[in-house]
Symmetry: C3
Subunit: 444 residues, 3 copies
């Protein structure tokens, strides 16, 4: 008898496509730029393709190549890593464009939300959250669970960011709180609910030589394009700050990660650190990337982030299962703790006069003083934004986890194994083994 | 005795380099932009590097990384895939710059053709045609045959596009007709002529785990940069349309491809679909990418394209050998049918008032009314452009196939095998097998 | 007992991070652009992010993905190739930003050096030098030696380029002399000093099928983005020259490399040539990339460079050990000889009136006539710049080599082997072999 659940994946996707199509049809419109604004790079028209496009494509590559290949490190789960990343990200982008449209980009005159290159880039930011959560769950959930998780996580992420940006006015150009902290702790909360002791000690939860090299493709593209991520929606002087601070901070975290890896691993290096902790400086500088923190500030942040991330992989990750958390990719070390670091840095920098440049971004919607907020109030609201994000992520993740555990969605079969999800090509080594046996027979 | 044909490849290339050098020397000139035009992004100067450059490099990466790695999926033909793609594309770019220069960019004052960033990008478009044709032939032709095919195919593609754009004024910003339809059916016509029954059931015409992962690199870069392809030579409002429509449509085809793959393959996925059909939305929206079709229009086009492409791989491809067509990469499913879909969509959209925005692009050279063409005339000429392209591609491909079958060019040796073309490194598994035997001996 | 040298790597990096942080803190400042300059693309403000950013990210990818993966071709040294490239490049960028800041970008008013996107891009150029030198040494030095080499090489490179550009005013927009010639001969001089006869005939100094494919990723990204490298800091008409000349020249070197490879290797191709010599046209056109050499000039330069580079790999590389030079990646063939070719081309082109466009770049600091230099003087100073670069590289490399040979830094253990430097994942084939033995036992 046919298990009806095998039609769940196509059915869900098909229904969502229909709903999304109608929503876009009723409520979206292209945003074309007024030509007269073209020279104003200080506050360019939202529709100016040329101002945003180069950074947008970099961010797009980070989502699909960066996250997709970074997760291929598992020895027999590379197809699922890059493939599920592909479908999950595409689904999330559609859903995020719509929800962010209603919440962030609603044009009350036309009763439609605008779509431009900036919308495409911010949808990519939302998808980063969801892909980070996927990193915590990698190998332990099926494709239906991932789609359902995205369906639940996107609205929570969008609402959290909207409150954080429009009411708390918590400054976060590189989205370290709203994307990295959110995605990491949402995912960890989900994996807490789904925890099973047989996640541990799976012989398949390891890398191999080639899968580690594929992962490096993802890692290095993330590294190279991180300045575009942190500067992607900035303008004016924030932009040059964001580009240079991120460049320096992420280089510094490469140094921090390698030196700590060498120290802990007796003069050898560990690929997990090189693939992940090297990037922690991009996360840790995100909240203050657009601020005048000085390049020495970026150096300190990046170096510490790289070192802390390696310490996390080495000492913290092996102990997390004690509190029912199994974090496949170590998102706590790459996104969680460096994101918290960014949030705390944001609180500190906001408290120092207008060093963070926050006052440029205040509007009448901001609680606690509106445009005339002082720096200590700003500092408090940065803390509130961080706290809210942590709370929303953890509560949201627990709820999502309980939904994903429902029998209709729950995973069957082996973890960390592509066999569950793919029609695999014949393994090369089988034919070699056969030839080996033949040769061995002849030889004997 | 030495077979003189072994010198054919270097000889042909050397002669072409000499001829091309003289043609460039006599008739090419750089196009430098007049500075006063710099702010006019509505109709920027052709020579404005900054307007075109970011999209151009994306397109360049699509040709060399995208197509090159997408074709590495064969288990023992990856060197040839990426290597032949490399030489064939470089050769085609040179040839295309010259021919497009004479036909499209001739400056009658200086008696020279101009070369600027837009020329470089459109040469890349021509090469896409030739690389698509190569996809149909992959593993069955040698390097000489590929160069000769390009030499024949480029002028036919350029003339076809010139008639289509300058006389028929068939609108096609993403080149779905002039590049995708043309390249696919040209290649299929060649493979029809070269058909041999031993193409079928070759044990080497399969992928393996790592070759499928290498192919995903190509696939995902094509995905990420497709908005640049479809918007690469557009300006003004067409550009924001092309970017957003393509982004949505190609995301939708990821959804369409995954859902159909899951449906047909009993809840598992097939890498062939994931590598190829996911991209069909980029092709299928090409002709109307610059038009005001609404994002819901892009959703519908993309979703259908992804689904149709998977259906093609599943039901059509296995039956094509019955009519003497062996399509190695399934270009009919990724470029052919989605390209036809784009052409037909173009006919329909052109018929609806000026929704396609075609009237902006009409000039005095357009047959059937020139600048004052109405929408039903435009619709008719869109159909004419599609029909012409199909005809030119098929007839051109049949002629090219007959030339490639001449004994001087014809392939010797095994299909789908790098051994024919490369000095291969020692196979890793041989040493492992030897060690295996030694260990087996000791153990026994 | 613990060998204290195992702490050398983290200790050195930690100390450098502290020193660099203080230097940046005391003497660096962001460069923000004055908005009024935004439309002047002829001589844009240094701080204009939008003018430089797209090319900068391309260059950044060339350093980390391009060089990093190009060097993964060795069968058991791919982790070290991409990993050491990562840490070495990150370290070099920090060091280069500081040193170039003091020498090139000092603002005497604020007593600080400016940092903007152009600084980031030129730091990447410096790192190219160091990564080229690493290519000569690949597999034969440890990570400490690489960091120490960079510490020594960066100041020599920066001083050499400063003299070349500011006193000699030797024109070199694509940095073929100051980066490629310098890096190659510095590295070759180091390997001369470190030469040991057991470098030769190592069974590990070979590629394998997948490592050759990983190397192609690096190679093709270098190919695609080379126009950005050569045009990265140009403005005005130099920029369109640099983009188009490089595009044509590097395509031509693909043709030259394939035809010569086929000729020498009896109608088969060699991956070493395809990975490396195809790029020689990008190097060889660098010095005159911004000049009006005509596209036919670029064709001739590129074709010859590709051919010469293959000849170098085939005839010269195997003979270099006779003079105590072991060049792992063949940097002499890809960077050394094509760089010399570029330098010589620069001398010739400078002598022909103002075809090179050199006069635009002359200032009062230029020796031998300042702004009123004539073309034969310019030609002489181009030669002087080339000679100086060669001298500084070779002398600097010999000194660096002697320092690297000090017992405290010297390498222990096996060459060309990742085991020395990494905690490797269990080899896949071991488990297969075990299964093979089991199956063989059962079968027998």
């Amino acid at each position: 008898m046919v298990d009806p659940r095998q039609y769940l994946f196509p059915l869900i996707l098909f229904l969502f496509q229909i709903v999304f199509t109608f929503l876009l049809g009723f409520h979206s419109e292209y945003k074309y730029f007024p030509v007269s604004n073209v020279t104003d790079y200080e506050s360019p028209s939202r529709g100016l393709v040329e101002f945003y496009y180069a950074m947008f494509t970099d961010i797009h590559v980070m989502m699909f190549i960066g996250f997709g290949f970074l997760m291929t490190f598992l020895r027999r789960y590379s197809f699922s890593s890059v493939g599920f990343n592909f479908i999950l990200c595409a689904f999330t982008l559609e859903w995020a464009i719509i929800l962010r449209g209603y919440l962030f980009d609603w044009d009350s005159t036309t009763q439609k939300f605008i779509v431009d290159v900036q919308s495409l880039a911010t949808a990519d930011f939302v998808s980063a959250s969801i892909l980070i959560s996927m990193g915590a769950l990698l190998g332990k959930v099926n494709s239906v669970q991932l789609i359902v998780m995205s369906f639940i996580e996107v609205p929570i992420q969008v609402v959290n960011e909207w409150i954080g940006l429009h009411l708390f006015c918590g400054f976060d150009p590189g989205e370290s709180m709203y994307v990295h902290v959110f995605g990491a702790y949402f995912g960890l909360a989900v994996t807490f609910v789904l925890f099973r002791s047989d996640f541990l000690d799976s012989p398949l939860e390891k890398s191999r030589y080639t899968s580690d090299l594929f992962a490096m493709i993802g890692s290095i593209f993330l590294f190279c394009f991180w300045p575009s991520f942190n500067a992607g929606v900035t303008t004016g002087s924030d932009r040059i700050h964001a580009v240079t601070n991120t460049y320096i901070s992420i280089c510094a975290s490469v140094i921090g990660a390698f030196l700590m890896s060498s120290l802990l691993k007796k003069s050898k290096f560990d690929m997990v650190h090189v693939q992940n902790s090297t990037l922690a400086g991009g996360v840790a500088v995100g909240t203050v990337a657009g601020s005048n923190i000085g390049l020495h500030g970026a150096m300190v942040i990046g170096t510490l982030a790289g070192m802390i991330s390696v310490l996390g992989y080495n000492f913290l990750s092996p102990r997390l299962p004690n509190i029912r958390i199994h974090d496949t990719c170590g998102v706590n070390n790459l996104h969680g703790m460096p994101g918290l670091m960014a949030g705390i840095t944001g609180i500190i920098v906001a408290s120092i006069g207008d060093r963070s440049g926050f006052s440029k971004h205040l509007t009448d919607t901001c609680r606690g003083g509106g445009k005339s907020r002082d720096s200590s109030t700003q500092s408090g609201f940065q803390a509130a934004a961080l706290g809210l994000t942590l709370g929303m992520a953890i509560v949201g993740g627990l709820i999502a986890g309980m939904i994903l555990r429902l029998p209709i969605f729950a995973q069957k079969g082996k973890d960390f194994d592509d066999e569950e999800n793919w029609h695999l090509p014949e393994n090369e080594s089988k034919e070699d083994i056969t030839r080996g046996i033949t040769m061995a027979r002849t030889a004997l």
